[in-house]
């Protein structure tokens, strides 16, 4: 069984982005880029399935500019067997990415696609669900536990107030939540090994996908700033402020 894991190159989670002064977007020139954290969890889960003998091959895919090949090398350093870069310098929105992944899912005949639940740049939380719809396959989003047996996935999902468990018939789409696993550290020997693993490059057009954006960004601005208030000396002063000044208790 093959597993496909899409990974996104995003601004590192430790970077506080700045809005460009012309309001056209955020400034991502010269900032540290990393793999989207939820996608690391996705790769880790795929590797665990391979190590258990459930999966035979883990394929990482990334969509975007040439620099996404770095993210794919990281995925292969974690353990992915090979990688596919769907290269374009055009803006890609979730619907277009879902169509690209759907085309690869068909081409590679994969049984499972594991994605991060959300990318930390656009915060959309869409691609996995869109992929599931386009491929007419079942989905389990926000997964905290995954088991595969007899052509079915048993998935525990994080929901309000607790968790729920679903049985999905493969092929299926899973999106990862925080507690699914803790990704391993990438070791130097594995980074060296990853450099030799195969990385194919193709374009969205090669897969027959039209990536024309459907949403136009008109402007991007800084959020209204929240100013710091006052320091209070002790608990009594705090309670007094909350009761008599803010009147919230």
């Amino acid at each position: 069984m093959k597993i496909l894991v899409p990974v996104k190159r995003v601004v590192d989670y430790n970077v506080k982005v700045r809005v460009k002064s012309d309001g056209s977007g955020v400034d991502i020139a010269n900032v540290k880029m990393s793999m989207n954290p939820f996608d690391e969890i996705a790769i880790e889960e795929a590797m665990r399935l391979k190590e258990k003998g459930v999966a035979t091959e883990v394929i990482a895919v990334s969509c975007g500019p040439a620099a996404c090949s770095e993210t794919l090398r990281t995925a292969m350093a974690i353990g992915a067997d090979r990688a596919i870069l769907v290269q374009t310098d055009d803006e890609l929105q979730p619907l277009a990415v879902a169509k690209i992944i759907k085309a690869l899912m068909d081409k590679e005949q994969v049984s499972l696609v594991i994605l991060g639940k959300q990318a930390i740049d656009d915060d959309c939380n869409q691609t996995g669900q869109m992929l599931a719809a386009l491929s007419d396959r079942p989905q389990a989003t926000f997964a905290s536990k995954l088991e595969i047996a007899d052509g079915k996935a048993t998935v525990t999902r994080e929901v309000d107030g607790g968790s729920e468990t679903l049985h999905l018939t493969l092929p299926a789409i899973i999106t990862t939540d925080l507690r699914l696993n803790e990704p391993r550290y990438v070791t130097l020997p594995n980074i060296m090994k990853a450099k030799k693993k195969p990385l194919d490059t193709m374009s969205p057009a090669d897969l027959g996908v039209d990536t024309t954006p459907r949403i136009k960004t008109i402007k991007v601005v800084e959020p209204p700033a929240r100013s710091a208030g006052v320091k209070v000396a002790d608990v009594a002063a705090l309670i007094d402020k909350l009761k008599n000044e803010a009147k919230v208790i």
């Binding site: 939820f38 930390i120 989905q139 929901v159 507690r179 954006p213 949403i215 960004t217 006052v230 209070v232």
Partner: protein, 310 residues
């Protein structure tokens, strides 16, 4: 032009997130219809008909809709989608799970987590953990939206008198089965709808300490309980308590952050709270930069002292 709001409900009552979503739908203009897709959900449909501003309630009832499975609810939405210019879901675990399926099947983009309606096709939404606000225009004929509930005042739950139309349930997916759920029952207010939230961070040190120190304060204030990602990751608090970019977005009247340093991902989830209190012994903690009232103190002393003083 008319809007369809997908109601979040538990088959017997409508969840508050639905009221905020209807508010956003009214801002888009035109009639607002509400779909209640559930099982034995007559009471929820009747409650939806009472909501102010609702023109019509569509009620689909079937065993396969009882647990809100995305495959089945999306099919139900798609069966009636062509009548609407806007299809809105709350940006909750429920809505986020279903909305993209509907958008993809309609071959339209989804605008996630809208915080303002500027025009019928133009919306504001936060990106990069709320560190930037984008104004975006949907170029598609049908707008599929998820609504950040804290950004829209809820409409009144009563005062309306809409008709309830029964719609036929669609065929259920054969590829997904609901096995069961483990939902912790508690009497606390829901995190995203609470007026007061007390929230704990990694400084609590353990699950036992978290509960021992934070619970009495929450009890005293009738508050919901939240946690930072660090506390959730460390297993001190349940996952659905996580406040932040990838967890819950909250905006209570009062948010009390105890032992939370204030990473940008956490601030993204709570900085729209009316009054923020930070209790932290680290004077450099970034949480103090957004707090209305900062108390530099060890939470293990300060929180019990608050409980005694309240």
């Amino acid at each position: 032009m008319s809007s369809l709001v997908i109601a979040e409900h538990d088959n017997s009552s409508i969840k508050p997130s639905t009221l905020n979503t209807i508010s956003a739908a009214l801002a888009c203009g035109g009639d607002v219809h509400v779909l209640v897709a559930g099982h034995n959900a007559g009471a929820a449909a009747a409650a939806a008909a009472q909501i102010a501003g609702v023109g019509k309630v569509l009620h689909a009832d079937h065993d396969s809709l009882g647990h809100g499975l995305a495959e089945n609810v999306a099919a139900q939405v798609l069966a009636i989608a062509s009548a609407y210019s806007h299809i809105l879901f709350p940006a909750t675990v429920y809505g986020k799970n279903i909305a993209p399926r509907v958008a993809a099947k309609l071959d339209v983009a989804q605008v996630s987590d809208i915080t303002k309606v500027l025009a019928a096709d133009t919306f504001e939404r936060p990106i990069y953990a709320g560190n930037a606000i984008a104004t975006v225009q949907s170029l598609d004929a049908t707008k599929v939206l998820t609504v950040r509930t804290t950004a829209f005042d809820p409409v009144a739950a009563t005062g309306g008198s809409a008709a309830v139309d029964v719609v036929a349930a669609q065929a259920a997916s054969a590829d997904v089965h609901f096995v069961g759920s483990e939902i912790a029952r508690n009497d606390r207010p829901e995190l995203t709808a609470a007026k007061i939230i007390v929230s704990g961070g990694r400084a609590l040190g353990s699950n036992e300490k978290f509960m021992e120190v934070m619970t009495p304060l929450a009890d005293k204030l009738g508050a919901a309980m939240g946690a930072s990602r660090a506390a959730v990751d460390a297993g001190y608090a349940p996952n659905d308590w996580q406040v932040g970019q990838t967890g819950k977005i909250v905006a209570p009247q009062l948010y009390i952050a105890c032992g939370i340093s204030g990473a940008i991902q956490h601030l993204a989830g709570m900085k729209d709270s009316k009054v923020i209190v930070a209790i932290n012994k680290d004077v450099e903690a970034p949480i103090f930069s957004v707090a209305d009232y900062g108390l530099e103190a060890d939470l293990f002393n300060a929180v019990p002292e608050m409980v005694r003083a309240l």
